[in-house]
Symmetry: C2
DNA sequence: CGCAAGAGAGAGCACTGCTCTTGCAATCGG
DNA sequence: CCGATTGCAAGAGCAGTGCTCTCTCTTGCG
């Protein structure tokens, strides 16, 4: 049952390919990610890499999945502790933001324009869902302890989006009201919207540097969800 | 003073290059935009295109600027009329959303990950600023007629972001309070955040199709800004 | 031990961006 | 009006890319 040397070598080179690809991505971006460069970096010939990776896009999706895992771990780690859920939600946003600034190319790969034709939907979705799941967990905590402002004023939600929210709640096995899930979706897009704006240079000429408006927007998102009263004041 | 035939031919081929590039972009995306393909499309040899366009990135930035102009025109047209500013703001969001769905690759080029190294800052910024300027115009209208909920509860804004908002207000020659500009920034990122989420496939497995959550989020953004009471109910 | 499967090497095809040189045509100055 | 200058297009070519094919050598299993 112990792995043969060949198998060991295989997973080892596979790992080296992924590591090199990750490095290429971090340094030069997804557009410059080249299988030949990875091969050069590893001291092998380009055709040999195809024994491990079916195509360039294949490597890219592997890196995407790894990125989602990375981010999810950061998110899970950032929300440990006993602070109020609202504070932990803001901490989660800040952690995502920090990760994005430290790994801008990875972030762009995950949340920027899809690179090839479209996102590969395979195992990507489950890994991608981990990070929002952390946020929903916080909301659920706040709701169960009665800390969530469920009746905060909000625009009316149409029947279609209510149904989607209901189905999502069922799929997540969550007892949260649909309105809360809907508000969460709106707030969640806000969090990533402001991070993307900052990283992709949309704040040039206005709110620059963007970290202050990001901090404010994270609190606004928490407010939108209903974490009112627990939001830490800005530094 | 009349343009010589040579000059006419020059601007003509320049236009044809841009048109072909726009088409390439719309059909196959920015990654597949190829100067050689443009040359083939126009029946000329690739080196000849370099008489008109310095590089591939050069053509790309030209298309970016054109995209910003396109979007700005859509935005300006969508906000004509005498409806309440809040309603016109939502109409603006919907118009942006429609444009994005009709031109997903252009939208990705403008608001997705920056393609080459970084966004060319030259004349891009002024064109990019036109669309948010439309929104700010609406806010100003609402404010001047006292329709804006200036005292709506909001998270505290730190001194840094207040200063940025003050400078932005001065640059825009706007009399709006800083808090309103800050709230606008947070709401604006929300609008583009939800559109990007939808177009880039982040709603797969949750709020799919995304148009309903987009509609709701646009209203939430309007609510965040302070257009309360004027927001049209969902269909 | 022998033979099939795995792994790397190399050549090669079609494509890309971009540069350089060459030849032709239009424009302008005298 | 004619020669010189300038602008434009074409072609070849370089370096790089993704990907496929064949060939060779090693590994490991029966």
């Amino acid at each position: 049952m112990s792995p043969t040397p060949r198998e060991r070598a295989r997973v080892d080179t596979m790992e080296r390919i992924l590591t090199s690809g990750r490095q290429q991505l971090a340094e030069h971006g997804a557009a410059a990610l080249s299988l030949r460069a990875v091969a050069r970096d590893l001291g092998m010939v380009s055709s040999a890499v195809y024994r491990y990776v079916a195509s360039r896009d294949d490597l890219l999706t592997a890196l995407i999945i790894g990125g989602y895992r990375d981010l999810a771990e950061v998110a899970e780690e950032a929300t440990t502790g006993r602070a109020a859920p609202g504070r932990r939600f803001v901490a989660l946003c800040e952690a995502i933001y920090s990760w994005a600034r430290e790994h801008p190319h990875q972030y762009a790969l995950l949340f920027g324009s899809p690179v090839p034709g479209y996102r590969a939907p395979g195992g990507t979705v489950t890994d991608a869902a981990r990070t929002p799941a952390v946020a929903i967990q916080l909301i659920e905590e706040a709701w169960q302890s009665g800390e969530l402002a469920v009746d905060a004023p909000m625009p009316p939600a149409g029947p279609a989006v209510r149904r989607q929210a209901k189905e999502l709640g069922a799929a997540l096995d969550s007892a949260l009201p649909e309105t809360v899930l809907i508000r969460f979706a709106a707030a969640w897009t806000q969090v990533f919207g402001v991070i993307s704006f900052d990283l992709f240079g949309q704040f040039v000429g206005s709110f620059e540097p963007g970290d202050h408006i990001c901090t404010f927007t994270f609190r606004t998102a928490a407010h939108t969800i209903g974490f009112s009263g627990q939001i830490p004041s800005a530094r």
